[in-house]
Amino acid sequence: MTYAASFRVWRGDVTGGDLQDFTVDVNEGEVVLDVIHRLQATQAGDLAVRWNCKAGKCGSCSAEINGRPRLMCMTRMSTFGEGDTVTVTPLRTFPVIRDLVTDVSYNYDKAAQIPAFNPRPREADGSHRMQQVDVERSQEFRKCIECFLCQDTCHVIRDHEGNKGAFAGPRYLIRLAELDMHPLDVTDRRDAAQDDFGLGYCNITKCCSEVCPEGIHLTDNGIIPLKERVVDRRFDPLTWLGSKIGRRPKD
């Protein structure tokens, strides 16, 4: 079943741009990225769009569809009515390069600042051993495909460009949580989480969790546990005292 759909796509670059209207064919079973490709093939040969896998695994095709951050390759056309106009815009939080392509290097800069994985010494036989139950929590965050939809939707930087220096964004807060929970890692990142990566800026309103295409529970399993760990270190007089008199080994 083919029908003609109305699309509005943002076209432009740093000097300016606007939403442009298109009418384009849609076939049964297609996703938004298919339709964008058809536009490219038939009506707008120079439409810039980034994509790779078309399977929701490379994290390249992030955009905003009807105002919601989503992967274009994982958004089925069947979620819209045939009469609906589908609006596709680039990620708002990052500088635009052209059309639907944005410059996401903010994220790479933040990633590079995080203190790297620092395992305890190897065991006598030269191996690193850990139990599955110990590493399970960290593994949830390893599912991240770095699509940066969470970074895009987080109001801390989306609505306040000036916070980008102080705040690393949800993707990197869960990276900190992943390392802090890791059974082999020995670096304490709790002070850095608060002071250098802006954990306190997050007001746990959970938009990052809402948009994550991998279904990672960023807030409940990553950011809130990290906040609690920071409380242990910084704000709770009892745990602070416990650690001073050696009653509370970090395990």
């Binding site: 300016g16 951050p69 708002r92 903010y106 609505d159 460009e161 980008k164 800026y201 546990p225 709770d236």
Partner: protein
């Protein structure tokens, strides 16, 4: 070989504060492009929370109709002054008569809910509009979140939890007292008993599913394998934690319903149906 740009050449220089050059974002005038009813959720939250605040303030200041043998309203328990109706808790002191006994104990349940991770999400979104919904622009010029006072105080949430757990014990005790009749004879039960029991159960579910509770029972450990019992406890709390928001609302309603039930009994509007 792939070459990549050197670090730090991105649009944002790390460490930059407010101001700075124009962000070079895509020029999109609309504050948001969402087409769904994103405003419904915050609107419902505002209406429900405001109604609760109005009702509970009225009842807390009323200083009357909070006790109907053998039931006491959860707003007034533990009742710790000599001015208390009924005899459910040791009376510690005599306060000025214009201060309702509910006021002294308000700080614990209020403190718990005000600093609760779930309610924070709810009121930051619906009252403070920060953000009103995902990918909908917030109206504030500046934003520092919970990174500095006064909101830094949210970090003391676990102390409110400790107090609330104690209160849960007391409210459970109140529900058990409900197995008496008007004369203090044990072995009876009425609709009020069920109301108080349900309320106590929901309050336990709410506080045990708390994020701080999850952290304290086991979340703070990095080696679950060395602490099998705490790992088990953490697993159970984690299961409850997934429904924390639901318990937050249900227990809010149950407190109000339990209070309203006692109010109706105390004013003589209804009589308690007794099973035995």
């Amino acid at each position: 070989m792939t070459t990549t740009a050197p670090r730090g050449t991105g649009a944002v220089t790390p460490g930059r504060g407010d101001g700075g050059p124009a962000p070079r974002r895509a020029a999109i005038r609309a504050r948001h492009l969402r087409t769904d009813r994103w405003w419904l959720q915050p609107l419902i939250t505002v209406v429900v929370l405001l109604s609760f605040v109005v009702y509970s303030s009225f009842r807390a200041f009323q200083n009357a109709y909070y006790f109907a043998e053998p039931y006491i309203s959860p707003f007034y328990s533990p009742c710790i002054t000599t001015g208390c109706e009924g005899d459910t808790f040791p009376e510690f002191f005599t306060g000025p008569s214009f201060i309702s006994p509910a006021i002294y104990i308000l700080v614990i349940p209020l403190g718990l809910r005000a600093t609760c991770y779930y309610y924070r999400k709810a009121y930051y979104r619906s009252f403070w509009l920060s953000p009103p919904a995902c990918a909908v622009g917030e109206p504030h010029k500046r934003y520092t979140g919970e990174s500095r006072p006064p909101l830094l105080i949210q970090n003391l949430h676990r102390y409110a939890l400790y107090g609330a757990l104690l209160f849960n014990v007391i409210l459970t005790y109140d529900a058990i007292l409900g197995f008496r009749d008007e004369t203090g004879e044990w072995g009876h039960m009425g609709v009020g008993t069920l109301v108080l029991l349900a309320n106590a159960a929901l309050l336990w579910l709410y506080s045990l599913s708390c994020h701080s509770c999850r952290h304290i029972v086991g979340g703070r450990l990095n080696h679950f394998s060395k602490h099998p019992l705490r790992y088990k406890a953490w697993t159970q709390v984690s299961k409850l934690n997934a429904s924390h928001a639901k318990f937050a609302w249900l227990s809010l309603f149950s407190v109000a319903i339990a209070d309203a039930y006692v109010f109706l009994l105390a004013t003589g509007t209804i009589t308690d149906f007794r099973f035995f």
